[in-house]
Subunit: 373 residues, 3 copies
């Protein structure tokens, strides 16, 4: 039994309704070039930025939903500059999501497994559904990423207002760590308020007003995360450091959409409450190992034309804790997107002026195609 | 053409019957914690223990069956502590099975490719269909694992008695080795006797009496393996050592099931017939490199309640060859499982008391969920 | 909606025709042994040489075709002898193809993404559709491999003559490089002439005359490639070297088929136009780092019997640039294949006499089974 439409994957429902299954596949080709002011250079790359396989559906009962997402591109699965890491059994980290979601009551769900934490909105929006070519500087410095653990998610209506409460306990070190947990757990809470009711097509987690909301829609949210004895420089991401620190993180974010116009804002503040984020210094006094802490702001807005072209702008700052020795950064981005079939078949490009403390200004151009079955 | 039921995968048969195809996907989320006596510690982890894709069916003729199984979790594909190994082209070892099975006669099949050897019963039982959270200590120290080569498998009936004879020649060094064979081949033989006839649903290779046999069923088997000039410390598994040794291994195992009660026993004996398993010593006289040899016993039994809860117990010992310097070990395990849909949707937990020579006693708790489409 | 036949994969077309999807899976089991003259040795291996998942179809409109091919075997994804490389994010290189092909006009297509360049015929023929167990020495020394970039492909008819023109600009360093492009781009052009019209079943890119052409068919082609500031010893393949060189490469190739007889020839010539291919020497004066340049010739022919057994012969030489210190090589190969279902289910074997300068003669035997759904 198949019912399929482009962008909705291959769908199968068992004859006896004992399970459903949806398969999706997508990839992005990315061209990216950077010019550094004061030089003649143009450094570019062209790569398969993301390629993913997705499997989801319900198992045995519609109350039990499973989701598996696999990363295939080198950017998704590689351990990065430092080579393989023993904490993941020296393996490429192919599994992005592997999670079961059980509906305990009509409003309350229990999630078990590995998936995104209820953190900042920009992170939770799928990389397929972004308004720009990729997420902002805020998210690359301060975010809550995929982690393994338990989540409780509640959603209920109070008049026309939609409320969501989420809480999670997770290991705190990110995807598929095969060794014993270093230090304590990670505790996350998030509250969302949609005072004007639900967005069309879950649009509060979709970049751009693809659905062209006929009435104004607003989402407001705040997340707090306490990563007890964190081991990695950016919580779920980054290098494993030689000492641990507690990380305390606040996020406040909002999404607004109306008739093709969309605006999103996020503020993030991460600190080490009980000491310094710096672990060690080099002989010359520069920072050797440090956690990434500080404050970041991201503001973006766009307008979708009737022709499905969208123009958008973004302003992002990152103001790191001074002692970390990390440079302040400001980014100004202008984006142009053509949504041929929503976020399933599109071409996006953006130009970013990057102003980073202690470095020459840079101008980055990116162009990306997305095909998602 | 689709016929599907939860736990049976997505099935397709070609319109012209020229092939069949079945796709399955499964994953396990595992929580595991250990308390060591005499300390205050509780060391735990939470991970995607296994995630697998399975493809099987027949190709061109029902007499030719193919099977491909892929591992995705870091535990399945990583090279472990020592980092990548050149013997697998420094690659993650994604392919578990890739085998073709050709039915030469109604009773005799020829297998070509990479899959499990006809070794100890506990190893051959799928990791999806175990009675406890994972296999026993016996199997982690002495087993026959996946290998690349040829197998002949014969099955025939003598009165009510079912007999199976299996023989294989394989490379001896395990999964997808891309370099020339080091040393000689691995020769395996196995005989199985089912004096009371076939189990329901191939239950002689399923943990627990899920099928609730109405008449008693018994399987008895013995395997012998000679790994000529083995290179890895545990045959198909373990580190590549700097010298080679012949490994000679006996397994005797049995499975009994009746009305929800099941019992399984295995005995393993591995030795280096022509010398010492130890390759080298450190300066202080402790063993540096050694093959893992010795004797091991695993006994387990369980009872499946009408409610599909199962209680089970397991006793395992490992008695290594003294010269290897490996510590003796005894394990006592109590398991509790809820089979929601057989082995396709279940939650299992077990508690194990680990008594290991030269170390403090430990108590291990594990809880695992399995979803298998 | 499914229409399936063995060897054609699993096919799905959306009810609203908004996309099509085809899934294929294949694997090869390879046995390979080598005897070196003057020794008593027989060095062999048995492995899963290739295992692949393929996804293709059209997206939204039949004019937009996508193709994704994933490698799974250690031979396909590993970084080889030198361990992981930072240029691929220290990741296994799973993605072979990820490309979108857009039909600009009835004859002209634009390709964007990662796939094979329009290089030598032997390389472009799928590894599934080879006349021998594997490609020749020519291709392993001088070829154009998969790369990321843009291609334009035009095909048109002039009378009975079919003409194809292809051009590409690519990054030049091969599959899914995640770092900035080192040096310049790679420029490729290719022209194909089929004076006697199109082959059946795209047979100009299929090994052996599987389709048994009823009239003679001929394909003639030439490719030229300029890899500006290449970084890897064999262009898209090989080690990253410590300096860069321009690589200039010519290929001329031909394919002829008639009534079960097939012949294919290729000539390759690669040089560093502006200097020496050698980067560095060791203290004793032998070459340390060098690009692989020189000339190579491959000639092969075969005849397919009515029984679908094929006998084939191959002669290959590689004549490297003297200064590289690489040894000249000649190979004589005799092949015997049984095509049970074309190239989708077959067993192939070949014997090769390898005469390499400075080494003892070797005789190599290989036997490979292919199953491709």
């Amino acid at each position: 039994i198949n019912r399929t439409k482009f962008g909705k994957g291959i769908q199968v429902v068992a004859e006896d309704s004992s399970f459903s299954f949806k398969f999706g596949i997508r990839f992005q080709t990315l061209y990216q070039g950077v010019h550094t002011k004061g030089t003649k250079g143009w450094d570019d790359r062209f790569l398969i930025r993301r390629a993913r396989l997705k499997f989801d559906g319900y198992a045995f009962t519609p109350r039990l939903v499973y989701k598996i997402e696999l990363g295939l591109s080198n950017s998704d699965i590689g351990a990065g500059g430092g080579g393989d890491i023993s904490q993941t059994n020296n393996a490429d980290n192919i599994i992005l999501d592997a999670v079961a979601k059980y509906q305990l009551t009509p409003t309350l769900s229990l999630w078990v497994g590995q998936t995104k934490l209820p953190g900042n909105r920009e992170r939770v929006i799928s990389s397929q559904k972004l308004q720009f070519v990729d997420r902002s500087l805020l998210n690359s410095r301060i975010n809550l990423d995929r982690d393994a653990g338990f989540q409780l998610r509640n959603e209920h209506q109070v008049g026309t207002v939609l409320l969501r409460e989420m809480a999670s306990i997770s290991m705190g070190e990110g995807r598929d760590i095969t060794v014993n947990n270093a230090g304590g757990y990670d505790y996350t809470g998030r509250i969302e308020i949609l005072p004007l009711g639900e967005f069309q097509g879950d649009g509060d987690y979709v970049g751009g007003d693809i659905a062209r909301e006929e009435t104004p829609k607003l989402a407001l949210a705040a997340s707090y995360d306490f990563n007890d004895n964190a081991s990695r420089s950016r919580g779920q991401l980054g290098s494993f450091l030689s000492e641990q620190r507690d990380l305390s993180t606040w996020f406040v974010d909002a999404m607004f959409k109306y008739k093709g116009f969309s605006a999103m804002g996020e503020y993030a503040d991460r600190k080490v409450p009980n000491g310094t984020p710096v672990i060690s210094y080099q002989l010359d006094g520069t920072v050797d190992e440090t956690f990434v802490t500080g404050k970041a702001l991201n503001l973006q807005a766009g307008y979708l034309l009737a022709s499905n072209w969208e123009m958008a702008g973004r302003y992002t700052t990152f103001d790191p804790t001074a002692v970390t020795g990390i440079g302040e950064q400001e980014q100004y981005t202008a984006g142009l997107s053509k949504y041929i079939v929503d976020h399933s078949l599109k071409v996006q490009s953006d130009v970013t002026l990057i102003k980073e403390q202690g470095r020459n200004d840079r101008v980055q151009f990116r162009m990306q195609m997305e095909i998602a079955l």
